[in-house]
């Protein structure tokens, strides 16, 4: 683990609000984290916990309106992405920060060939000629493990299987050798064996290319094997954050513990298609003044209803946002 290096991405106090016709929805509340070069940060939480919105907020991919990034700072290579102009953002998106979405079925444009879609970022960001871009696209496809890559460039997305399409998406995200790859539940829509293949692929790519990765998932089991650090999100907040081994061995937040307990059962279940604001976690109409997990928490204390717990260090490189101390069973000293 490359420790101590300057973070490639530094997020501070990010807040994103959706303005809907039935009022505001506070989807992301004061999220802070950093990402160091070459590391893999896992982001875990149920659907609707604000994972995807956080990541899309970073690079201005949320449709605005209705989304509005209200506060915070996202430092990337010394640039604040939130205050950067559109041109700057565009030159970073796809070139230095790659994105892989969860649904490979609909995320590729059905009417253009895979080759065309792969070549687009190459030509846009790296100014490659058509021929060079094509050669590079073939390389990329080969890199992500698509056999007979050169000839498949002419094929349309519908001619690929789901797993293959996700590989194409990954190839596309990696096209310009980005420093950061954000993978938003890239395996959720795939069946289990394909999931494993994709995971292997990412591991291998990371070894080869050395980019930093943010891996969003609702499945703790998935990232156990690949992540360096894990960030657990709930209700638009980071509730726990720790190196992966530490988190699995010593979970501090009741929500993390609950997630860990569900690993075997969650794994077999077919994941439904997820939507950003719907689902089980609370839909917050205002900035939370109490612990958003309290209604579902088996260890809720009186104070949980009065204040929203801040993130406090609970171990080496480990912090959690909870008033309950699992070791004592009582309130934590904050």
């Amino acid at each position: 683990m490359p420790d101590g290096a300057a973070p490639v991405l530094d997020v501070k106090g990010l807040k994103t609000v959706f303005r809907t016709r039935s009022g505001e929805v506070h989807a992301v509340n004061s999220v802070s984290f950093d990402l160091r070069p070459g590391e893999l940060l896992g982001v875990v939480g149920e659907s609707g916990s604000g994972k995807s919105v956080t990541m899309m907020s970073l690079i201005g991919l949320l449709p605005s309106p209705p989304a509005e990034v209200r506060r915070g700072q996202v430092l990337f290579d010394g640039i604040d992405l939130l205050s950067a102009d559109d041109d700057t953002l565009r030159s970073i998106r796809g070139a230095r920060i790659g994105f892989v979405f969860q649904d490979p079925m609909t995320s590729l444009n059905p009417v253009f060939t895979v080759g065309f879609q792969l070549m687009e970022p190459l030509r846009r960001h790296m100014g490659m000629s058509k021929a060079r871009a094509r050669a590079r696209a073939a390389e990329l496809l080969e890199l992500v493990g698509i056999p007979d890559a050169a000839s498949r460039l002419k094929d349309y997305p519908h001619q690929f299987s789901g797993g293959m399409r996700q590989r194409v998406m990954i190839a596309m995200a990696l096209a310009c050798d980005p420093e950061v790859l954000i993978a938003d539940e890239p395996t959720t829509a795939l069946d289990v064996t394909i999931q494993a293949q994709i995971l292997e692929l990412v591991k291998e790519l990371r070894r080869k290319l050395g980019m930093a990765i943010i891996w969003i998932t609702h499945d703790l089991g998935v990232i156990a094997g690949i992540a360096d650090r894990v960030m657990v999100m709930y209700g638009g907040q980071v509730v726990e954050h720790a190196p992966v081994r530490e988190l699995f061995e010593n979970p501090q937040h009741p929500y993390t513990r609950a997630l860990l307990e569900t690993i075997p059962t969650v794994r077999g279940k077919r994941a439904p298609r997820l939507r950003v604001i719907e689902g089980q976690p609370p839909v917050l109409g205002a900035e939370p003044a109490s612990c958003p997990f309290r209604p579902r928490c088996g260890h809720a204390l009186d104070i949980c209803a009065r204040a929203n717990p801040p993130r406090v260090p609970v171990g080496p490189a480990h912090d959690a946002a909870c008033f309950w101390n699992p070791e004592t069973g009582g309130p934590r000293d904050v």
Binding site: R93, G94, F99, N109, P110, H125, Y156
Partner: protein
């Protein structure tokens, strides 16, 4: 695709024959009569003789077969003769003749085609060129003032009929301002700048009126289709790639949105050849639409039958073209 096209084309022949028969039956059943518009001073017995001289006393199947022979055998032979300057047989063949003018229908159509294609075709092209950008911008800036005004104008353009807008234009631009002629001169030959300008001036009003109507319709479909596609996941992917907003919109979204719109456009092309009955009437353009309406009013069965049948051929053909275009534009669809 080629297989599909060939199969469709083969299937087309019986379909067209069937359509031609239905049209003939319909025209024959229709209660209007070639002597209907003659002055009252022509007595009933003479009217009856006129009908007989037109062959109306023959049974319907005889007349239909005669038309088939004239249209499918004699007319093509005649065209071949004219093109290659050769003589086939004795050259004395019965052609499809209009009852009102007693001249070959095909010649009439050839005479009318230029002004119809110029005016109606141009208005269609202009309409599309206006409609697509309007549709795109309206959808992209949904509910903006541009969208609202565009919606308003296209709805008014569609709901106010051309018989009204046409006369309004004439009153304003011909009577009050005197900018454009109110009567289209079909004999005008464009040979120099002055006659070209005159052609432009006489085309301006009919083209505008028709283009407004066409643009209204197409821009609505364009807008709806764009809206459908703007929310698709692949648009987000395209943005995540760092593409320019213009590229996202004009390459990724537009290409998908055009699929249904192109079919709408292709399907309406035959209507260009059908002419615009009311607009042609209002501006006296005297194209195919006017020919057809005169034929129908005068119960000129050979003329109407031939015109309608050619129209039917175009419709079937352009439906095929639309389907093939669909297959080309949308790679997911494969005809086999």
């Amino acid at each position: 695709m080629l297989n599909y096209t060939i199969r469709r084309l083969m299937f087309t022949v019986p379909v067209l024959l069937f359509i031609s028969f239905i049209i003939f039956l319909l025209l024959d059943l229709a209660p209007n009569d070639p002597t209907g518009n003659l002055p009252m001073t022509i007595p009933p017995e003479v009217r009856q003789q006129i009908r007989e001289s037109l062959g109306l006393d023959q049974p319907i199947w005889v007349r239909y077969l005669l038309w088939c022979k004239q249209f499918f055998i004699n007319e093509p032979l005649n065209i071949i003769e004219q093109w290659f300057g050769i003589q086939i047989g004795d050259g004395d063949r019965l052609r499809v003749r209009s009852w009102a003018t007693r001249s070959p229908v095909v010649d009439l159509i050839v005479e009318r085609l230029p002004q119809t294609l110029w005016v109606v075709g141009m208005s269609y092209v202009v309409g599309i060129l206006i409609a697509i950008p309007i549709g795109v911008v309206s959808a992209y800036r949904q509910y903006s003032w541009f969208d609202q005004i565009g919606t308003f104008i296209s709805m008014v353009g569609f709901s106010v009929p051309t018989f009204f807008t046409g006369v309004l234009m004439i009153v304003i631009f011909s009577v009050w301002l005197g900018w454009f002629p109110s009567i289209y001169d079909t004999t005008l030959v464009v040979e120099d700048w002055a006659s070209f300008m005159q052609q432009v001036r006489q085309m301006a009003m009919p083209v505008f009126v028709l283009a407004l109507f066409n643009a209204a319709q197409i821009s609505r479909f364009m807008r709806a289709s764009m809206l459908d596609n703007l929310n698709q996941d692949y648009v987000r992917t395209a943005r995540a790639k760092g593409l320019k907003e213009r590229t996202v919109l004009l390459v990724h979204v537009l290409r998908n949105s055009l699929i249904p719109v192109v079919t709408v456009i292709a399907l309406n092309v035959p209507q260009v050849f059908g002419g615009a009955i009311i607009t042609e009437q209002v501006f006296k353009v005297n194209g195919l639409g006017q020919l057809l309406i005169i034929g129908i009013q005068g119960a000129d069965i050979p003329l109407v039958q031939t015109l309608t049948f050619i129209f039917a051929v175009l419709i079937v053909l352009f439906n095929l073209i639309a389907d093939i275009l669909y297959g080309i534009l949308d790679p997911r669809i494969r005809y086999d």
